[in-house]
Subunit: 337 residues, 2 copies
Amino acid sequence: MKRYTLKAALSATPVAEDFVAIDVPYPDCPPGGIVVRTIYLSLDPYIGSRLRGRHMGETPPAPMADAIPGAIVGQVVESRAPGIAEGDYVHAMEGGWQEYAALPPGHFRKLDPAAAPLRAHIGVLGMPGLTAWAGITQLAKVTAGDVVLVDAAAGAVGGTAGQIARIKGAAKVVGIAGGPEKCRLVTDTYGFDACIDYKAEGWQAALKEALPEGASVFFENVSAEMAMTALSVSRTYVRGVLCGLADAYQSAGPAPHALNAGAVIGKRAQMLGLVVYDFYPRWDEYVTEASGWIRDGKLAFAEDHADGLDSTPALFGKLMRGANVGKPIITVSEEQA
Amino acid sequence: MKRYTLKAALSATPVAEDFVAIDVPYPDCPPGGIVVRTIYLSLDPYIGSRLRGRHMGETPPAPMADAIPGAIVGQVVESRAPGIAEGDYVHAMEGGWQEYAALPPGHFRKLDPAAAPLRAHIGVLGMPGLTAWAGITQLAKVTAGDVVLVDAAAGAVGGTAGQIARIKGAAKVVGIAGGPEKCRLVTDTYGFDACIDYKAEGWQAALKEALPEGASVFFENVSAEMAMTALSVSRTYVRGVLCGLADAYQSAGPAPHALNAGAVIGKRAQMLGLVVYDFYPRWDEYVTEASGWIRDGKLAFAEDHADGLDSTPALFGKLMRGANVGKPIITVSEEQA
């Protein structure tokens, strides 16, 4: 079967040419585990960091051997797991860029294909959605009347965060994104009240104008510098969710991660560090709640989609350049084999 | 009457020679306000910052005119305030380095001289104590079992914070202070379990050893750099109170205020900015609670005391050098006139 791996250890921002397909044996089914046929493959910003061993202390995949990590939705083709039958659908964080994945027990969640479209489990019901939900509902605890600022708002985390904030009663949701196309997605599809294009001249003044009352919550995905911009347009007692530092995931050198302590004190801010791993035990709870929002038309998602495992390196390179509009998702095989 | 003022506008860390006594007219009593005879005068680190206009946007006192700001306990000698009689005792944040102070309505709190020693309202029942209480009980919400790390632990804020943490059920309280004498105060008088001398070689290893289980709360008074040290010996989900940046108050140049966002995220930390002004409406509540702790022998305080208004510049210079052990307090006049 086909697998994509690294040609060599990475030191710079990944590009499409860093990846190569190799032929590997069809995997054995682990004791208590399953083998799945990959249907949908998720491409996420943190992978850019993880490939260089810069993510949460995790070892990067070995060049010319290991699959590039990536979350998947797959269909079970072989099961030694109790309660899982051939033909069942599962989500797994460690499926990877390959046609089939062997998953040990505890490394997959069974999906209900009737509750939501299978592809929604990449993105809005997947790790990005769980991240957004955790930050908005568990850390910032957004309630009626909150004024919420979200950056990387066109992304799967940011777009979902803003929508969940709205569902939880936020009075106003403002996004920051790069370029008019992403901003249109944020306002027209995700329904934010406004979106500020940080690539446009005078964007910081526009941001200030969009938030005359000051944000009561901000959700930070990009960088410490951007968090300080968000803090500057926030009101006293703002809750700031520190979710990710995508700029650092994508850049080659060490990024400045500096939050200004004086500004945090002056604003009486709460800066709340978020790691989504902590919320994996609550994933099914989130999926149940959010599937209802999708059915009710309250939670939209957008995809930057490509067909076939061979289109993965190019789409990942696009993500690393920040050129994707919508969640990058690869259809590796058909839902029905 | 005598008043101490600045000789000239300051640009560097204040020293005793920056201050000069001038003779000014005895003040008029403001409408609805009072005139008090200063009994005790508080010297606090933030004044070093405020004199240079670097504190919360407040205007520095005008040289050769305004009194140096400072909290006082005083006795009312003239009253146009309802409910306040001649002979009553009050606390005021803006009494200043002078023999008598005119205080407009809303700028003083009446004290009960039977509830606690009058001098306790400088320090442990004053703004430093209120700050400690707010951080420990209202922001970090310390409860049974917490492991609490406090720096500048020999100071009025830090020493009180650790003791209140213990009263609220902390399983362990560790301090950081500069030099063996301060550390003895922290362990012997304030009853911390341990105190690490940051001026001693290998102190960071000693700190780590003192907290094998990791801090669940830290209370930061010194600098962003010290906050990052505290974070490094903390457990996941630590609540960090950002109370003050005393290093910056005392230094001449701009101080690095950088909190590392990646470290905050990795530890899932809550960084909580504290400004004590927000808790002024709850001051009487704190005094009532803490007076009981003082009577019960649960809350100790130490003073670095000097007699007479003329001893103020020298004691303030000592505070700015970090050489004081205990809360700096000046007896300006006798409790009973």
